[in-house]
């Protein structure tokens, strides 16, 4: 129950009903306009130009504003103006609940604080699973970077289908792969881990001893990684060093900058130094 979405938190807490949640989402959505929509309305872009930027955005992981400037369709100051207009119009979920007399300002403040605390606890709990390993910080960073890099391109589709026991090193035969059917270009995601790491992660995650059941262990770690990827919670500790400041993970082409390798999608293998955790992403 990590509840990244505040509305889900309130629903699970019983503060709002399902119908109040849906009404608030509708009202909130009605207050949100994309930068492209605002730019068209202000006459800065034509509909066709906005579509071109949107298409380009789907291909890359760049933001609309940055792309529009690099394509010389908008000036920097126009993008800033669009942002301000967008932010002014956009209503927060809690704001809508106050307008609808569902919550008072005081209770909203209290619930927001409670939600933040819960997210922090949830993050710590997920992190404790990962960080228990000697290379936990690095594993967390790899997962987090992966989730972040793909957050716009294939959000929620970086799905781990299988985790297998394997004492292998980078470059060994490909295991634990998944092909996402929803992507225009198939992306395969794999994790290879040492037996001990899988067992310890599974036991902690399930909060029960399943050491004698390899099938359950593999499945539990698959679920854990999907939850971590889905929530992008790992590595949110502010004190945690940025990826670039850590000892560089190994990538398929030695010397290739990790972030660049992620962006050039795909054929990447990243591993912690003792090879107990390997992540690979590739296309055919």
């Amino acid at each position: 129950m990590s509840n990244n979405f505040f509305g889900q938190f309130l629903l699970e807490k019983g503060v709002i009903s399902k119908s109040q949640l849906l009404t608030a989402i509708d009202l909130q959505n009605a207050s949100h306009f994309s930068l492209g929509q605002i730019a068209i309305r202000k006459g800065y872009l034509t509909r066709q130009e906005a579509e071109v930027i949107n298409l380009e955005q789907q291909r890359t992981d760049q933001r609309f504003g940055a792309l529009a400037v690099s394509m010389e369709l908008l000036k920097g100051r126009q993008v800033s103006e669009l942002f301000i207009t967008q932010q002014k119009a956009r209503k927060f979920f809690g704001e809508v609940l106050i307008e609808e007399n569902v919550l008072s300002q005081a209770s909203l403040t209290g619930y927001l604080q409670e939600h933040e605390d819960l997210k922090r606890q949830s993050s710590l709990r997920l992190n404790s699973n990962i960080y228990s390993h000697q290379n936990g910080a690095l594993i967390a960073d790899i997962i987090n970077t992966t989730a972040r890099m793909f957050s716009r391109v294939i959000k929620m589709q970086l799905h781990v289908s299988e985790v297998l026991y394997e004492d292998v090193e980078i470059g060994a035969q490909e295991l634990a792969i998944h092909q996402s059917a929803e992507l225009p270009k198939p992306i395969k995601t794999g994790f290879i881990m040492h037996r001990k790491l899988i067992t310890s992660l599974a036991n902690k995650f399930l909060d029960m001893d399943v050491s004698d059941n390899p099938e359950v262990c593999e499945d539990a770690v698959k679920e854990l990684l999907n939850i971590v990827l889905g929530n992008s919670q790992v590595g949110h500790d502010k004190k945690h060093k940025a990826l670039s400041k850590l000892a560089p993970p190994q990538v398929s082409k030695p010397g290739v900058d990790l972030k660049a390798a992620y962006k050039s999608v795909l054929n990447i293998q990243v591993s912690v130094p003792d090879h107990s955790f390997v992540l690979f992403l590739y296309t055919d």
Binding site: S2, N4, L21, K155, D219, I227
Partner: protein, 125 residues
Amino acid sequence: MSSLLRVLVVDDSLSMRLVVSRLLLNLGHQVIAEASDGAEALQLYLEHTPDVVMLDLVMPKIDGKKTLKKLLQVDEHAQVVICSALGSETDIEYCLKAGAQFYLQKPYTLEGIKTALNNLSETSE
């Protein structure tokens, strides 16, 4: 909340089925069947007519969203709790609008399941 609910657990993950079943048993409910995909879920639903379906969202073949729609087609009063690691606003909105009674975010907790099932009794006839 009724004292005993007959629950159908649908999740392609063996470990997640194990955990949710254990938690449901701890809460005094009965897991009448487990399915690992949407097709099996539909078949078992018709066979057992459970009180509640705990339905995973991301599954191979027929995913949770399609299964939800099909379940509601065969029984418009089906009580479905969507269970997923994906907590995006869009997913939650989609499932609740499609007719799910509740959206429960993984990982499973005793408290989360309890809340979901409490919510069912409030909304059921």
